[in-house]
């Protein structure tokens, strides 16, 4: 395989519970771009139980789509890329499919080291089956029995500060040793406790089980360092995947970084975007949020005030985990998103059937509504749970961008509907941007960041993640739909001016294409706000949906009466299509349906009157992107990057490839992703990264 600096063409494969998605990333005019993508069914379950089969089917489909030869005569991946443009330089693998790692956490203090261990585990697909600590009142024998009964895959030992006593943690390690010796299936052990006890831990456990030693998660009581333990966990996760069979052993050998948890990739990208957002002084946003709605797992990864947070729910999804979604919400909560009065039985049956046949899709409009109701609730529940840990108070922070991933969001009848699902479920505030990851590019980018961070920066800057559009969200409770709302003035680059009153309780989209910007003035009715103000002046960027003006207020006015919902929701959906354009001075009553919407039964309490906002209420916001030298913002990955690629550096450099041209993937008129064409491409010398990595390797060897 090629060394890191020689990586020009990469295939990244993400193994989801239902789909195996492969993306081809290649140099296009000297810039890394998404060139092609394919998806096939994951082959982790019966009858094959071998994910590698799905991988090679995806590669064959990509060959068919692009005309580029990726497999040799023995149907093995061609790597590195040949002079004639066949094969690729590297394959990267991420996975969310498979049984979560069953973990027993062993620590000293529940609120200190054990809490840090849980922070480490939050970024991966794990189920914590038991916790042993000094607060545990069970006898040693009971603790051993508990560990054996849970049949853990991993025992994660933490505890003690680096300057503290060693004996308490060693006592726990001895208990673990006893359990490991007895266990029929020996668990792996990750130790990230008192550094001074590391050698004794090795003596006690080495040879008995797979042992990984990492830096102490709590070197002092005040300090929490998770990086080393996260890295150790990633190594053991990869090993777990390899040993659990199902073809991951073969995939892991092919992949330059082993098999990385998909959620870890998501976290990497969100952390990077969080750094970018934090440096953008013109656009005050408090954080970035990415939600990935899968069949078995829903993940919310956020960077709030540069602090990363991740919430992975392996029991919430809209396929395999559709039935267990009901453990966290109610049929009534799903019903409020439907335009008819569905019975509890109908809703429960739908979810259970979806769990039985997770790969199927709705064909009728009625079932699509049920599917989207489940999607909204899955996102809402997971984001609400995630918010509890964000240290920004109870109010929803301003998030920009908000990224939606997962097949259900990727394939909607029109991009505006994907935007509305995110808006409904998250109910963001202020001015935000909605992005979409329709092909599973984020898992690829998050993995690629370890090897080629500049490639990720380039792909994000070039818009390989689809921009659904900029959204202005009106805050405050809308008590009567149609009364008051937003007054919007859009000044386009060609001088055209569009004015629009968006009635309270409705949503409207101006179809500004991706990449185009417009100056937008918005004033809102007294009693309501936007970004905390009565009037804002913005630079907004278009997208696949357009410029979205969400005047529905917060929280959303969801009618209890099914008839009212049947009137209102189709209008909301129509309001996100962005297909109706009017003259500059025209107010579109048919769209906002002011008169008709008066019949919607809502609480009618507040009197809202249109008002011209005070000048001091004016807030100027721009969502034009800033482009600092961003590669360094992936600094948080550097240590792992160095470890991951050091072997590659020792390999012979591949011969320079001839210069050619490829074309990036793009959007067609339906907002669907179309493949580009890969080709050979110019050689990019990445001497700076090479030097950094050699330095990292040298430092590691000295240690």
């Amino acid at each position: 395989m090629a060394g890191t600096s020689d990586l020009k063409s990469i295939i990244a494969v993400d193994f989801g519970s239902v789909n195996t998605r492969a993306v081809l990333i290649d140099l296009v005019d000297g810039v890394y771009r998404l060139v092609a993508c394919t998806a096939t069914r994951t082959t982790a379950d019966d009858p094959l139980r071998d994910v590698a089969v799905g991988l090679f089917r995806a590669l064959a489909a990509m060959e068919e789509q692009t005309g580029r030869r990726l497999l040799d005569a023995q149907q093995q991946l061609l790597t590195p890329e040949t002079r004639d443009g066949a094969g690729v330089d590297a394959l990267l693998a991420t996975a969310s499919v498979g049984q979560p790692l069953r973990v027993v956490v062993v620590g000293l203090m529940p609120d200190v080291s054990v809490a840090s261990a849980l922070h480490v585990l939050a970024g991966s697909y794990v189920t914590v089956v038991d916790t042993l600590s000094l607060a545990d009142v069970r006898t040693e024998e009971q603790q051993i029995n508990a560990m054996l009964a849970h049949k853990p895959d991993l025992i994660f030992i933490v505890g003690g500060t680096d300057a503290g006593a060693e004996e308490p943690i060693l006592e726990l390690v001895r208990v673990v040793r006893s359990a490991v010796q007895i266990a029929a299936h020996r668990p792996m052990v990750l130790y990230a406790g008192n550094r001074a006890a590391q050698e004794q831990v090795k003596t006690l456990l080495d040879g008995l089980c797979t042992l990984e030693i990492a830096d102490n998660v709590r070197p002092t009581l005040e300090e929490e360092t998770l990086g080393g333990a996260q890295q150790g966990l990633a190594v053991l996760y990869d090993r777990f995947k390899m040993e659990s069979g199902g073809g991951f052993d073969e995939v892991s050998k092919l992949s330059k970084i082993g098999v990385l948890p998909t959620a870890q990739s998501l976290t990497n990208i969100v952390r990077y975007l969080g750094e970018v957002t934090a440096r953008d002084r013109r656009n005050p946003a408090q954080g970035v949020l990415a939600v990935d709605v899968g069949s078995a797992t829903t993940t919310a990864a956020a960077s709030i005030q540069r602090q990363p947070y991740i919430n992975i729910r392996t029991d919430i999804g809209i396929g395999h985990s559709a039935a267990t979604l009901l453990d966290f919400t109610t049929p009534g909560n799903l019903r409020r998103w439907l335009t008819w009065d569905a019975s509890d039985s109908e809703i429960i049956s739908y979810l259970h059937n979806k769990a039985l046949r997770p790969a199927t899709v709705p064909q009728t409009t009625r079932e699509l509504e049920l599917e989207y109701a489940a999607t909204r609730e899955a996102i809402r529940v997971v984001v609400e749970q995630a918010r509890a840990s964000w240290k920004v108070g109870p109010a929803m922070p301003v998030l920009r961008p908000i990224i939606g991933g997962g097949a259900v969001l990727a394939n909607t009848p029109h991009p505006g509907l994907a935007a509305m699902l995110l808006l409904d479920a998250i109910q963001p505030v202020g001015v935000t941007e909605l992005w979409q990851d329709p092909v599973g590019l984020i898992p690829a980018m998050g993995a690629l960041a370890y090897l080629k961070p500049e490639a990720v920066v380039q792909m994000i800057d070039e818009g390989d993640l689809i921009r659904l559009g900029s959204v202005a969200c009106m805050e405050g409770e809308v008590r009567r739909i149609g009364r008051g709302g937003m007054r919007v003035t859009i000044r386009l680059a060609d001088g055209q001016v569009v004015r629009r009153d968006v009635a309270a309780g409705t949503i409207w989209t101006y179809p500004l294409p991706p990449g185009q910007t417009a100056a937008v003035d918005i004033s809102v009715t007294r009693g309501l706000t936007i970004a905390g103000r009565g009037r804002v002046r913005l630079q907004m960027t278009g997208g696949a949906a357009g410029l979205i003006f969400d005047a529905r207020g917060r929280p959303l006015p969801l009618p209890r009466d099914a008839e009212a919902r049947a009137q209102l929701y189709p209008r909301w959906a129509a309001g996100t299509r962005g297909v109706i354009q009017r003259r500059a001075d025209e107010v579109d009553e048919s769209q906002v349906g002011r008169g008709e919407l008066d019949s919607v039964a809502l609480q009618l309490e507040a009197e809202a009157t249109a008002a011209v906002p005070e000048e001091e209420d004016l807030l100027e916001v721009s969502d034009a992107p800033v482009r600092p030298a961003r590669r360094r913002l992936f600094g948080f990955l550097r240590r792992r990057s160095a470890l991951a690629v050091e072997d590659a550096l020792e390999e012979e450099e591949s011969e320079g490839a001839p210069v050619g041209r490829a074309t990036p993937a793009g959007l067609n008129g339906d907002g669907q992703l179309t493949p580009g064409s890969p080709s050979t491409k110019p050689f990019i010398d990445d001497e700076e990264l090479r030097t950094e990595l050699r330095g990292a390797k040298g430092r590691r060897q000295r240690r």
């Binding site: 089917r57 789509q65 049984q99 024998e141 078995a296 049956s349 709705p362 064909q363 669907q672």
Partner: protein
């Protein structure tokens, strides 16, 4: 368009059925049958012991020494040895007061780090054949069994198993069956109800001591009730009110009165076991096993598993090369499926299943 490999729910009137029977991972035991042996459904093919807990005895404090050689010399049991309560485990036999006796019956698991580990609360685990067949392979912890006959897989089961004669309920389903019509030959039978189950039908099944029920569907809110039932329940279509698909009904009807083996496994994505009924039967010549991982091709007989055509069986007429927009606006890879009525409908590929025919 790339080749698509649909899911499969096997429904075949005559096939070769192979199933593995193995000891659970936490059971210590052995295989009890030999290669080529004929077994009945109730025959035990592997047997073992499972410990409910481990007892850890600290030999260092009990024997008053931490010298490994001294401890080994005073140990009177070995790993794997079954002991009774009161048996001597360790100590100096010349000095009865120093003898360490087993506090409970069990099995010595190991002696490590000066600790004697006893497996206690042992219970016997018997793995039965589950259907009439022949042992075609013997492995360290299990066997491979084979038979010929009919096979109908379902989508959901309540986790119970049984053997019994197949009996067809009236066309109207179990719900319309009057109590007076349930004669003694219904007791213990695996009753096939072509119509969905409701609360009344479930109650009737249990009260009349039916052996098991195979039904197409039932409302999902009855799932907790069905899980508590002692008799096996298997659904062929899912939750809701779908009638049974034509093929499953035909296969089950053709075997009415014959002995069948129902394993109503509750679906678990980490387990390969599916709910199924096996009806062993002689074949004129050895039929092929169910096809697996077959690609979807024009001409293939398929079952549609989502509304508005759920449960219908048709034949793939064509596979359009590009994704099509379906009635709810989604744009998806689809198949054109010819229904028995002569109508051709467009169905997303992921909403089609194969039956296991090659």
């Amino acid at each position: 368009m790339a080749t698509y490999y649909p899911d499969q729910t096997t429904i075949l009137p005559m096939t070769t059925i192979r199933r593995e029977r193995t000891l659970p991972p936490d059971v210590i035991g052995e295989v009890t049958v030999q290669l080529d042996a004929f077994v009945s459904a109730v025959d035990v093919v592997a047997r073992g012991m499972r410990a409910s807990r481990y007892l850890v005895i600290d030999l260092r404090s009990a024997l008053g020494t931490s010298d490994p050689a001294m401890m080994a010399a005073r140990l009177h049991v070995r790993a794997g040895q079954v002991i009774r309560k009161g048996d001597v485990l360790a100590g100096d036999k010349k000095n009865r007061r120093t003898l360490l006796r087993a506090p409970v019956a069990g099995r010595v698991h190991s002696v490590v780090d000066g600790r004697l580990v006893l497996q206690t609360g042992l219970s016997e685990v018997n793995v039965r054949a589950g259907f009439r067949g022949v042992v075609t392979s013997v492995r360290p912890r299990g066997v491979l069994l084979e038979t010929t006959g009919g096979l109908v897989q379902g989508v959901w089961g309540n986790g119970r198993n049984c053997l019994g004669a197949l009996k067809m309920a009236p066309r109207g389903g179990l719900g319309v069956l009057e109590v007076e019509e349930i004669t003694p030959d219904w007791r213990g039978a695996i009753v096939v109800s072509p119509q969905p189950l409701d609360r009344l039908a479930l109650a009737k099944a249990e009260a009349q001591a039916l052996g098991a029920v195979i039904a197409p569907s039932m409302p999902a809110d009855l799932r907790p009730v069905a899980l508590k039932f002692k008799i096996p329940i298997m659904l062929t279509e899912g939750f809701g009110s779908e009638p049974m698909n034509r093929l499953a009904q035909e296969v089950l009807e053709s075997y009415a009165g014959m002995q069948a083996s129902l394993s109503a496994h509750e679906p678990n994505r980490w387990s390969p076991d599916r709910p199924e009924v096996i009806i062993p039967a002689q074949a004129d010549r050895i039929p092929p096993p169910p096809a697996r991982d077959e690609p979807l091709r024009p001409g293939a007989e398929v079952r549609i598993i989502r509304q508005p055509y759920a449960g219908m069986i048709g034949r793939v007429r064509s596979l359009p090369r590009v994704p099509q927009r379906i009635e709810n606006g989604l744009r998806l890879p689809v198949a054109e499926v010819l229904l028995p009525s002569g109508r051709t409908v467009t169905v997303p590929l992921v909403n089609l299943e194969l039956f296991g025919r090659g």
